[in-house]
Amino acid sequence: MRAEVLLAFLAMAAVSYGIRLAGYLVGGRMHEHPRLRAALDQLPAAILIALVVPIVTRGGPAEWLAAAVVAALAWYVDMLLIPLAAGVVAVVVLRGFL
């Protein structure tokens, strides 16, 4: 492997690792305060919603309808594969029509 390419990859890997380590250490500190712990407990749901909202709102009617299908199925079915597969099929079909 070319040395300068290796260096670039190592730099990217080190940055990614540093971010995770810093987050982990700060999270550990937050755990010691009750109010911050309440924030930490709700953080996963908040992050997941924040991951989804920009993608769905940036899409069109096909993505909105497919998202509604996924959300409805996810509420009733406790299995990841079913809403996932339904969402992918729905978005392909809906993009063909809308």
Binding site: F9, L10, V15, S16, I19, I47, L80, G87, V88, V92
Partner: protein, 241 residues
């Protein structure tokens, strides 16, 4: 003695459960790895470099952005800054890992941290607190850590198998995964104020930024922090009562 063997057996079962839970997600990672490998080949990376990059950088969004910046010799500083911008969301994500890796020795935690990615973290959080939660997380991580470099390698070797992920709906796969897991968490713990704050924060940040490398992290940060702030304020209210 039985306690000991039960304990390690339990951890192994949790690892397997995590791997199985994450298998559907691995299909999406496979599709994206194929696309990444094909693009890396077009950008001039060798087969070995492509696989090595996926194994050591191990971050889809940062790697796609890196291909966009790629020149020879590579712009190391620009790549490092882009990685920081794109991956800053991992700061918040890793902050929630303390509960999962509770009681682990520091060295093992340090070794596990590179496996924290959006997708398997989400599966781990949706599973909720359980016995051997850390082993469950390792199972989810192992599946994706095998899939991503392998798929990158195949994509490089085979070329554009999945030329347009949009035509197959693959671009929607991760959205569907995150959504399903978010609904699962929401069902377990109702906190509409938190959801609203998070959605509004992410939406506004996304509108203001409108794309660019910052778009991958900042809406997640703003939304996540807005939701966390709402949770902290609400917990303060209930203390006062």
């Amino acid at each position: 003695m039985t306690v000991l063997s039960e304990k390690s057996g339990g951890a192994r079962a949790a690892f397997t459960a995590g791997a199985l839970r994450c298998a559907p997600v691995a299909l999406g990672v496979l599709a994206y790895g194929l696309v990444f490998g094909a693009l890396a080949q077009q950008a001039g990376l060798s087969l070995g470099e492509t696989a090595f990059m996926s194994a050591i950088v191990y971050s889809g969004s940062a790697q796609f952005v890196a291909l966009g910046l790629w020149t020879l010799p590579p712009p190391v500083l620009a790549l490092a800054v882009a990685t920081l911008l794109v991956n800053f969301r991992f700061f918040l994500i890793a902050a929630t890992m303390g509960r999962v890796l509770k009681g682990w020795p520091l060295l093992r935690v340090l070794a596990a941290l590179p496996w924290v990615t959006d997708e398997n973290w989400a599966v781990t959080m949706a599973e909720g607190e359980r016995r051997h939660w850390g082993a469950f997380f390792l199972g989810t991580g192992a599946v994706l850590y095998v899939t991503w470099p392998t798929a990158s390698l195949l994509g490089h070797a085979l070329g554009a198998v999945v030329a347009d992920p949009k035509a197959w709906g693959f671009d929607f796969a991760f959205t569907a995964v995150f959504m399903t897991l978010a609904v699962g968490l929401a069902r377990k713990h109702r906190a509409p104020l938190v959801w609203l704050a998070s959605a509004a924060g992410a939406f506004l940040a996304d509108r203001v930024l409108a794309g660019g490398p910052l778009g991958a992290s900042v809406p997640v940060l703003v939304g996540g922090l807005a939701g966390a702030l709402a949770a902290a304020l609400r917990s303060g209210d209930s203390d006062a009562r």
